[in-house]
């Protein structure tokens, strides 16, 4: 019934506006269905990317003088985001490829890789 009312409204309002709203609402609904642990990982990725953006903005304001530090900071954010995405792929139960991989193993890999990444980052930070 909600669909029909939306459809009725659909006839009266302009097409593009209604399309966008419909798309976002359906996306939100689908996303709500994902398991919590995946949502945590998604949040983590989002947080890492925002931090990277903040650093890029800072460099835009004050210039790139200690360039190695800038690179180190940004790459640490992006690196950890990449590792988190890998973890998400491996942990996702719907993913047929990694069916046999226990999620704890994937998490252990994630922790180890992060530690190695951060060692390199700290060395490069200067």
């Amino acid at each position: 019934s909600s669909k029909r009312s939306e459809g009725a409204r659909f006839v009266r309002m302009p097409k593009a506006d209604g399309d966008a709203k419909l798309l976002i609402q359906s996306l939100n609904k689908a996303y709500a269905a994902t398991p919590t642990n995946l949502k945590i990982i998604d949040l983590y990725v989002f947080f890492a990317m925002v931090t990277a953006l903040v650093q890029v903005g800072y460099m835009g304001v004050v210039g790139s003088f200690p360039f190695n530090s800038f690179l180190s900071g940004v790459l640490s954010c992006i690196g950890t985001a990449v590792l988190a995405v890998c973890l998400r792929i491996q942990v996702n139960k719907d993913n047929k490829e990694f069916k046999d991989l226990p999620p704890e193993r994937a998490f252990a890999d994630f922790v180890l890789c992060n530690l190695v990444l951060h060692l390199v980052i700290i060395n490069f930070l200067g």
Binding site: K39, V61, L115, H118
Partner: protein
Amino acid sequence: MIGVVKNDIVKLFGTIKSYDDGTFYFDEKYVDGSEYKGPITTSASVVRGVTSFANVVSGKLNIPGEKILGLAKFFLGIGLPGSAKDCFNQIESLSLLENNRIFVPLILSLPSKVLSLTSKDQLKVEVTTVFGSAAPPLRVNLVQVLGSDSKIITTDSKELQFDLDNNVHYLDITPLKIDVGKYSLVFEITLQDSEHETVYTTGGRNTESVVVTGLIKVDKAEIGISENDAGSAESVEKLDLLKDTKVSLSANHLQKLRLSFQLSTPLGRTFKPHQVFLKLKHESKVEHLFVVPGSARQFKIVLDFLGLVEKFYYLSGTYDLELSVGDASMENSFLRALGQLELDLPEAPEKAPRPPAQAVDPLAKFRPQKEIEHIFRVPEKRPLQEVSLAFTGLTLLPFIGFLIGLMRLGVNLKNFPSLPGPAAFASLFHAGIAAVLLLYVLFWVKLDLFTTLKYLSFLGVFLVFVGHRTLSHLSNTTAKQKTA
């Protein structure tokens, strides 16, 4: 047998070599570098052999006296040899010649080769053996005096008087009216005892060169500036060249500088010294040298500035004048500062040659040098501290957002094992990760890479062990939950 040797010695002396100045010597043919002994060694071995032979044999060896004298002059003429062996050969040969049984050479020498007319020096001649022992009674005659270009000055023979106390023959040369200059004196030695003719050899005529010096008179010295036409009104100053003078002249490029003087010897003749130079030195240290030409009457130089403008590099200003006259036989050679000349030359055209760069004081490089200011690299502009701190805060914001988001998602610690064993491992796992992160912070603040890696290896091993225990426990629990 002895006769054969005597003949061979005569033949050997036939191969003797000589120089133009009357020295005789023996030399080998140069065959091999390592075997070649040189004239000193060869002549010394001949002298050694011949004198030793003559000392023991009866009768006279048929060797001409001039060759013995020539050998003695050879050994005396080589000065102080460079090697000990040559030195020994020289001294040994001379000592063997000193009183040998062939001929004893008598050497004529002059103790002083410079005779001064001013101090009325006497000509002194010594005749001795090679080592300076007294000669037998003899007469020395000055036979000829030759001038510098072999011009014969006198030919009448003058006998030198003998001073017994000093063993020297002397002659007063003032009556000879010899002027200053270089001369060759020819002496003749005659032995008074005819028996000594077979014992001693004198070489007959000996030539020695001497320099006669004296005071040169400088007079009629004049300096002045004249106009460009010859012989017009001159401003002439008389100079006394016996001391430094301080004339002050001024001229422009249309005028000429004249300098003239006369030089005469103690005997009144015109004297032509070896060096007569006039030097003009500009205040910027540029120098010009002129030779003063001399005629039979006087020395005169005329500097026509019109023709010299380019040579002087168009430099106007004050020039110092200096006259130098010198010769070996002049006892009063001088270098006199005459004074100064203000010279006014036209402006240099564009193509004129530049004066040569003057020599830099060679000691200048050892004096304190110019200080070098080091230009340091300008440090990069850094942002204000407030801006940096603001952005640090901004960077932390997403983290806080993350924590808030986690809370909203309902993150809990439900899966934390409750049993003490696994709980301990789980806590140690988290503690281990925290320790590694703390190590990284220390690494950034003060540690170096090697220390960090060392501690990291310990922590890493620990963490792997603990992590494995915790995670395998967790996975077992999850599996049990699934199956259960």
